[in-house]
Symmetry: C2
DNA sequence: GTAATTAGTGTAAATCATACACAAATTGCA
DNA sequence: TGCAATTTGTGTATGATTTACACTAATTAC
């Protein structure tokens, strides 16, 4: 199947779609390239994988070098390997996404890689059609994966600060799913999952009724996962007849 | 991000978990290796990617060289790149799975790669713990992916002959999901999806009441997909109290 | 103290999933 | 010829889940 003397000049890199959540906006960390190819274009952070480095390690390294963050949630998404995707040679790239708390973000200015780093909202990224290389495709694949993930894992907890309100959590889900959710149904559901702890604390300094604060219950989550629980989400928009039809088909054997 | 002079001696391969369905058994195509490393061990079919070849093309080529099959359903699953996964050098591999009809399988005996090729049932593969390289991990990842896929795409149609009975289709689903399904509920559901055409033909030559034959309705499927339909499956085993609890959590916002 | 703002809460109706049993159609064989 | 064996094909009632929806409570700013 493999034969070392068939090796040819090639390399592999990792690229990382780093998601953060900030003031009701889901954002992605991009770098403005200073050098050719694609000088001046926005690109996803990435790097070649070192000879003695596992792929996941390389993706983690990129994140650490760029944002000073260790041990964040990281997931491999897809490998992009079109022959001509890189102008300087045959370079395939393994795409990852990661979830970070923007409030913990700690840019290392001395990074040689970071010419100009920017948290861009996903809406904006979706409008920028000329990211470097095939990074539009990579972003798209990773965002889609996140949207699927959020339905089966309470992915939100990596993105929010340690204490948060139910409204903040709901807004996070709405940003990820790019849809609106019904407040009462959302609360009913998420509370029934037994993955939140009511901190018996209140929000302070807001010009309206203060909200209760919650934290993520790691134990409750582990138990739920062990029991094979899945976390599903559905939008709450009013359904018209045409839309209702779909749902008939979406049901189960 | 990348710099051609940083290239080091490395390569990438594709490995392919080829699923087929035969007499109520889901099977995988394996090759018995004739040469070191791992001589005598079962391995997944794969090959190095050629310098001017896209990844998907390479995966398709492996399939064509080995089984004489073109244009089959092929999907990238995961990339495996542990530093020491290959004894002869740094070789990462991009894993694919494909779905083929065993009745269309057409082995090319002159293939230099094929020492000994065998369709092994997934149950058996799950018991064989010493596939070559990290192929146990690769198989596992691909089978899991198939199990997820089958819930959101009518994946079965690539695996069955053009005309089939509902019972055959049900057995296929049961093999993939490794569970039993309720006959009446399965039929109700799959027929409601509008992806099957009743051929108004009957099975012949069976020593019992003959079943109706169906074919896959490509148009109906395309339409359903366009409408954002999802195809979900659930097992039909009796639920005891402990199990019922999970389902409460599995519901939707 | 009043306006503005957001938090927090319950219920009824519709839909969907599940559990379950028997008659019909064919072949093989006595 | 007909009876045993086998598999097909079909409907309904129950419980669970999802959905839609509106008002009161708590706070700040002025």
């Amino acid at each position: 199947m493999t034969d070392t003397n068939k090796f040819f000049k090639s390399a592999f890199s990792v690229d990382n779609v780093i998601f953060g959540f900030d003031d009701s906006d889901l954002k992605v960390l991009l770098i403005k390239r200073g050098e050719a190819p694609f000088a001046g274009k926005w690109a996803l952070p990435g790097d070649l994988v070192y000879p003695n480095e596992d792929l996941d390690t390389a993706a983690g390294r990129v994140l650490e070098e760029l944002a000073g963050l260790k041990n964040v949630y990281l997931e491999q998404v897809h490998t992009f390997g079109s022959v001509n995707r890189h102008p300087l040679g045959r370079v395939i790239t393994i795409a990852y996404f990661s979830l970070v708390r923007i409030d913990a973000y700690n840019p290392i200015s001395s990074s040689t890689m970071a010419q100009s780093v920017h948290w861009m909202s996903v809406e904006k990224v979706q409008e920028v059609k000329d990211l470097a290389f095939d990074h539009n495709d990579i972003f798209h694949a990773c965002f889609q994966k996140l949207q699927r993930q959020v339905r089966s894992r309470p992915v939100g907890f990596e993105l929010l600060p340690p204490k948060f309100t139910l409204t903040e959590l709901q807004h996070l889900y709405e940003s990820v799913l790019q849809t609106e959710l019904d407040k009462r149904n959302f609360r009913k559901k998420i509370l029934s999952m037994d993955i939140l702890v009511d901190l018996k604390e209140m929000q302070a300094g807001v010009a309206h009724r203060p909200a209760k604060l919650y934290k993520f219950d790691q134990e409750g989550y582990n138990k739920a996962v062990a029991e094979g629980m899945s976390f599903e989400l559905k939008e709450s928009k009013p359904k018209r007849d045409a839309e209702k039809k779909k749902e008939v088909l979406a049901s189960h054997f």
